[in-house]
Symmetry: C2
Subunit: 400 residues, 2 copies
């Protein structure tokens, strides 16, 4: 192993981003990730173009770089500019009952911005089959979690006349299964090993799954929605750890007669303990859950949120906070919508005029409001509403 190889290996050890693992010895280097995955940076000119085309100010997640990378977003916008519509596809692996704030990011962005701004339909895949296989849940338990998660997703405010939610266990079959077979024919085992790192001791369910996540990118997988619209384009908002699935999908798409899906990719919502990975479902103290009480939120923030402030008030007044590593400021930059207030906090806190406790208090208020709003909305989601979103049906006015 020569020096360069050694260096490369070390870098790879430092930062692992796959659909199953996100870890890093330091901060995730998103520039490096863009290079490694081969996607493009979502730069200001593209944000401006979205604003121009939709006539709407960019969503906070867009203007603050939460969604920071893309693939072929320009092609989607070119087509849109010529009057051609597209559809959105996002999803969730229902591995746990309660969602945390990081889970909400793609749904908030898709719902409160993309779908509304572009006036396009949305399909949401709940990969209960995946979680049944990876997490060794029973079929029944994964289906139960899928329905529970669907309630949280619906609580984000999606429009039932433009949104189709489906669980793989319910929906795989027919045109969807045919497309799975078409995709599977185009991908060798060596290829999925290269992309996903499977080993011979992994079960074949894992090897069989990538086509299941691939095919919602193709309109013919949804005959009740897009019959006769095989050339409809698809835009996928997702966290960047899902990129490997869609690299594979984009490789296959033209070979089976479809457009490559475009992607708009987010960074990870950091754990309370600091920005070295995503939040972990296995450590409840690493995240704020949408089921947390106001008291729990306050406690978690005060106890666990990694602070960039100094060790003593005196030192803090003198040196100010290190905003680069400060989790309360990170969280506020996701969820405090007021740009002026955010700038004010960053300036004051960075200069030492504001203390960690004050910033944490502001954050607790912002998150409590968000979570309580979500809880109220979620409590209003009935089983009938879930059935309505998940009914296999046409969406007659989906492009209006």
């Amino acid at each position: 192993m020569d020096k360069n190889e050694e260096k490369q290996r070390e870098e790879e050890r430092e930062q692992v981003v796959s659909p199953w693992e996100v870890s890093s010895s330091g901060k995730i280097d998103y520039d490096k990730l863009i290079d490694k995955f081969g996607c493009q940076r979502l730069d200001q000119s593209l944000v401006d173009r979205v604003q121009r085309l939709t006539g709407r100010p960019p969503h906070v997640f867009l203007r603050r770089g939460v969604f920071f990378a893309h693939r072929d977003l320009n092609d989607i916008l070119d087509a849109y500019e010529k009057g051609e519509k597209f559809y959105l596809y996002t999803g969730r692996g229902p591995s746990s009952e309660a969602l945390h704030l990081g889970h909400l990011v793609p749904f908030m962005f898709t719902n409160r911005y993309l779908q509304d701004a572009f006036k396009v339909p949305l399909v949401i895949q709940l990969t209960d089959d995946e979680k049944c296989m990876w997490k060794n849940l029973s079929v029944e338990e994964s289906q139960r979690l899928a329905r529970e998660n669907a309630k949280d997703i619906i609580a984000c405010g999606f429009d039932v006349t433009k949104t189709f939610i489906f669980s793989d266990f319910d929906y795989v079959g027919g045109a969807f299964y045919k497309n799975m077979v078409k995709v599977a024919k185009c991908v060798t085992y060596n290829k999925v090993v290269g992309i996903f790192g499977f080993t011979g001791e992994d079960h074949i369910g894992k090897v069989s799954f990538p086509p299941v996540q691939a095919v919602p990118s193709f309109p013919s997988s949804f005959p009740h929605l897009f019959s006769g619209k095989d050339h409809l384009r698809c835009l996928i908002p997702c966290a960047i750890d899902q990129d490997p699935y869609f690299r594979m999908t984009r490789d296959v798409a033209p070979r089976i007669g479809y457009h490559k899906p475009a992607l708009i990719e987010s960074s990870f919502f950091p754990a309370l303990q600091g920005e070295t990975g995503k939040m972990s479902a296995s450590d409840p103290n690493s995240a704020i859950y949408v089921t947390d009480s106001a008291k729990a939120i306050k406690n978690k923030i005060n106890k666990y949120a990694f602070s960039g402030g100094q060790e003593s008030v005196e030192l803090h007044r003198k040196l100010g906070a290190n905003l680069e590593v400060d989790i309360p400021v990170k969280y506020l930059s996701f969820f405090l919508e007021d740009d002026a207030e955010l700038e004010h906090i960053k300036k004051e806190y960075g200069a030492g005029g504001m203390l960690t406790g004050e910033v944490k208090q502001r954050l607790a208020k912002v998150l409590t409001e968000l979570v309580e709003r979500h809880q109220v909305a979620r409590a209003a989601v009935t089983d009938e509403m879930v059935d309505a979103f998940m009914a296999v049906r046409p969406l007659p006015n989906m492009f209006d």
Copy 2:
């Protein structure tokens, strides 16, 4: 490599039997195959037991050893003796339009014997997805072939009140897909490589397929037929090259709460050119097709059927035919139902009293009658009948 290993390798080279390849440098050694696969010989005492339990003389394929091996057939019969019913599962990979006689063997045995004698329901899987992936057919072409093959299967005389025929492309989904996932979770990639010999350059469709062929062995895959009957046993009549699929299935079955399916396995119907493998769909002169004319049958037999007779009439009269390698006699032992006549032919021909030409003439008559009967029956199979057999429906009187 020591001597033993060398010998074993050589033996393996000599005889390859897998779902995709049957080849041998000499005659297939079925005893060796039983040892290698680990199934049991279907001996006379078991044939007698079937006769005793069903009150019917054994089918010609049973009493002449065409079905020569089994797995757990005794368990099925034990349960049957106690009044417990079972169901039959067989299938076909629709890779070609016209079936040859070898393709009919499992269907004739299932229809004219097993189903009737035991009064049990039957599911027939058409693996159009498999053929789409292995033979690189389009989805549409594999589905068309599945329907065409269904007509030939129906022409064998199946009872629509006891028989459900399905194509994977139509039927995969719901409970069937859930069982696919349950099976896939239990089988590692290394395991399927050991069983099926896949390589890293094989596409993942091949790796994904074994669970599709496995799950019709489990009653819950057919909720419209066997709802609430999860402990119903399954008996699979098939050619022995399908054994690898069901070895895997039997390994998984108890881990997901089902009985291991039992098997009753046939030898291969030999090619006209001699008994070194199965007939090949790619060489039309290696087989008699159910679409062949009387003239074509006569020609093929006269021209290609490998004879055990001697080179000259004089020598033949003196030495007699070698029945061990004689294809006309082999074919007659499949399809000439009259035991006495068959014995007579074997005796006379073996002693030189009967010439090859006479035996071939008798065979041509037997096969022409069989094929013409099939053609008449097939011409009467309408699209409506295919729809009726393939309708997803209960079979209310399936055990009567």
